[in-house]
Symmetry: D2
Subunit: 172 residues, 4 copies
């Protein structure tokens, strides 16, 4: 284990969507995470690796198993995952049930970085701070808040992450 | 004490500098913190209050006593202070020596928000996360990192905050 | 005829596309032209009217007849039309064949204004200057250049407007 | 003479001011014109040459003579000059009195390009269009408008260029 090192795994999501000016469509090319870290004047000891580059609506069970496997194998005990917001809570659940001894924080963005995404820079900041400060566990960092994996859901009507009542989720 | 409430005190600094297009000079008008929190889609329970609006090179002992007093009186046990970077470590020291029972995080920016400051959004994100996650103490959140008040200095040559060797500072 | 007044007709196009952060799709809401004119510190005597708000791939013959009719009825002899780039040359041809006594300039953008479209601001500037300086005729202003309606086409492979050899187009 | 070629002479001004994040001051480094032309998707045949890089308040008679000399010697009959707004009218007057056979357009910006200057992109667009479309003469292109050199002044209270009544200026 590297005590101070943070591993960032990129899986795509709105964070990294780009505008194709020839077709007028949104698409993925490569991650903007290194640019964002540079603009944020980030001086943390970290590595960035792209595991996949997809919209989270297209995230499969197989994809989630790959992320889980890579988190387990990873030398670092502190892991940040960038992920589309639409199924972030599902990936968080797979990781939360499969890993207990690492601090893992998932985050994303509502607006692509390339379109002046201030929420991307803000969320990246919160996620990097939570992943350093929190004890082992799997968390979602969105809207300035940090949610345990078993108590979070995205409210799709308003595009905001909310705490789920745990007494209900225990009843599941 | 309000356990979940965060108090933000604004003191000015590069964060809030604006460009006067008639004179070509930089100046302060009012804080951009509410705009930044909105762009970050922040949903935390917090209050923003401007204590002063100055360049931190102009921060006086009197100004620091005012900040200390307001932090002591404040109902919230979690306080974020936006501050110019040039004398942030000095204000942090005054607070660190004067307050033990609250979590206080100082942060700032190298580039004004109005000039597309991505480091401002990023730093605000890290500071809001650290102030929620850390135990009582006074900290500086810059460059993605969190420094205890007694072990931080700004390296002015490169504009980066660094950890100061505590064995030296103990000898002071 | 109002000699110094410029009429702007908005028809939609990339200029005015917005990002829906709940669905991740691009859509039209209302025009950004007034914002763009304000940011450009424009002090011309002009009016802005939205005729339609569509992608130019959806522009119909009926839509083009409406634009033609409105240009004919318009009190001003200088008219700027914002239009999607994909079928801008077709609308220009309808106007060029139908109107001889007014200066009409069509322009558009490759990147939405909301995504930091510098080409939108630049093109709006060129179009407003050409519409003031050129004699009666119908023109397309893109890529800093001004093309007569009968000698322009969009090169879709590279997203650039080009001069068409008139000897060929005469043979049509 | 190159009939279609446009020469751009850079003299500095707000266009090219940058923010020094170590000192918090504005300064000049090198011109952003090539970046701006690229973002504008400009496809004109043009050259960019920096003559000086100064605030126009520091423009001297010697500096104006250099600009005049370079405009005279220049192979192109169409010349665009980027210039600080504070003394743009004075440089225009020197050029207007010294050159009759070329189209020369001066333009500038109220907000630095690096701070998201939409007026810079807009003004560059208008100036490039006017320099192509207007007959020989010396002009100032600001606020979407084009002023002959002998009939323009900057209203410093509101930062806007205005037409000067020529009958008054004749009386001077």
């Amino acid at each position: 284990m590297l005590p101070d090192h943070i591993q960032i795994f990129v899986t795509g999501g709105t964070f990294d969507k780009e505008y194709n000016e020839l077709t007028g469509e949104l698409f993925f090319k490569s991650t903007h995470l290194p640019d964002m870290l540079r603009l944020g004047r980030c001086r943390l000891d970290l590595s960035v690796e792209t595991l996949m580059m997809i919209d989270s609506l297209e995230m499969t069970d197989q994809g989630r198993q790959l992320i889980l496997e890579r988190c387990r194998q990873c030398q670092s005990s502190r892991i940040l995952i960038t992920h589309g917001t639409d199924s972030m809570e599902n990936t968080a659940a797979v990781l939360g049930q499969g890993i207990q001894d690492k601090t893992i924080v998932l985050t994303g963005a509502m607006v692509p970085y390339q379109f002046g995404s201030s929420d991307g820079m803000f969320n990246l900041g919160t996620a990097l701070a939570f992943v350093q400060a929190l004890p082992p566990g799997v968390f979602v960092a969105m809207n300035g808040r940090c949610f345990p994996w078993h108590s979070v859901r995205k409210n799709r009507e308003i595009g905001v992450f909310e705490l789920v009542d745990q007494s209900n989720s225990n009843a599941d």
